[in-house]
Symmetry: C2
Subunit: 239 residues, 2 copies
DNA sequence: GTCTATATGTGGATAGAC
DNA sequence: GTCTATCCACATATAGAC
């Protein structure tokens, strides 16, 4: 509705020690509360209170609640996603355009999973994991924008790593990969509830040791057309 | 906050043709709107309008917005989850306690994926997929309650199908399975956006043909301890 | 840049007529 | 059972003093 909010406030911000501190406190508070309760369930009031500031300051710095979410995401994702793209490009180049799928998965998923080694990183993963299925159009728009570039790199690299998969099969397999990655990040507690105490999705080593091989093996499954029951058993056209 | 809402209204409901019609119209409207926008982003007013009724009627029949969500979920899940449990129990029994993992996955995931064959089933999957990462405590409580029993059946059957996996490894693999299943249901449009037109998660045949084998193969990966780099290559203790 | 006070809208829930 | 009218809490956003 008010998409044309005052972005000038952001552009005209100049170095001011006190100002930057407030700004960062608001970002920290927003990140924490968005992660805990979800974008739509948190008010700018709560954020301002948590930041020991007030609503007006939040609007002064970020123009709107939407702009605040954008800033919260950009603050961390700009760096993370640049690294993921760099790793993806590099493993493509190192392998002469035919990377191993485990390297591609590691480049795309590894950096995000490892975020959970710190408490604030874990919180940020919770935020993005929950946001990934948020129906709010504002949230969707921002996510599509922030993840578009790295997502394209990933699909391209995965396609190069699995040249004998049809585009349809790649689509479904990468959906499963995305799903697993986001579910780990969103950490909804379902499996912990079923498995009892002692199991946690925040265990980065467990994720790398157990989830990554699951996904790698799944990606390496033979193409479904060739694996169909009673179908031509051995002939395939490439590779 | 108001968890002790008037449940008597539900209990005291007796057969009344006009009443039941209104009730069903409200459930239909709530299901549609919850699926579209998420529980927290829909007001009871919108639901009442969509049902060509009013807020008071919704509160009369369901006591609260929370009670309404509970009824929306129960209406379909009671049947679906009973069927899933029946299938899981059956494939355990048929295999003498050692079922094939693909049968377990099919029993647990198949019935929900096939819901998407109808438009209203697809909408319902959207609703539950989005709800699965909803941070709202009301939503979490209801989901845990509605899925607890079938979830335990599934974990038990999966453990029986994969006896050589440690509990930790099973935990992580089933997390991946859950993640893929929920991501397909939540259908956030990310992969369609990256793959372009012609690809859709509503394609039930595609899901069964491509996603299920991915998950089955992942579950069948050798245990990670034995698959560790440069580790003992062939000796394993069971099976 | 930061605040208080406020404008303006909408949320869930209920009272009470019919 | 169904409705209108209403209570009250809280949302985003802004005006204007400092």
């Amino acid at each position: 509705m008010v998409g044309t909010a005052i972005r000038t406030a952001i552009g005209s911000r100049r170095a001011s020690a006190a100002g930057r501190e407030t700004r960062e406190r608001i970002l920290d508070a927003a990140e924490r509360l968005f992660a805990e309760s979800g974008y739509s369930n948190v008010s700018t009031r709560q954020i301002a209170d948590e930041a020991r500031s007030n609503i007006a300051a939040a609007h002064y710095h970020f123009g709107s609640k939407e702009g605040l979410l954008e800033a919260v995401l950009g603050r961390r994702l700009d760096g993370i996603n640049a690294e993921r793209e760099r790793l993806l490009t590099q493993c493509m180049r190192d392998a002469g355009g035919r990377p191993a799928i485990q390297d591609v998965l590691e480049a795309f998923i590894g950096p995000t999973l490892r975020l959970s080694k710190t408490e604030e990183g874990r919180r940020f993963n919770l935020l993005t994991g929950r946001a990934s299925t948020d129906p709010n159009p504002e949230v969707k728009r921002i996510l599509f924008q922030v993840y578009d570039s790295v997502g394209r790199c990933f699909v391209e690299a995965a396609a190069a790593a699995c040249p004998d998969l049809s585009k349809a099969e790649l689509f479904w397999r990468l959906t499963c990969v995305y799903g697993a990655m986001m579910y780990i990040r969103a950490d909804n507690g379902r499996l912990q509830h079923l498995f009892g105490p002692g199991f946690t999705l925040s265990d980065v080593d467990g994720a790398l040791k157990y989830a990554m091989p699951f996904l790698t093996t799944g990606m390496q499954a033979p193409p479904s057309a060739a694996a169909a029951p009673d179908a031509t058993p051995s002939r395939r056209e490439d590779d």
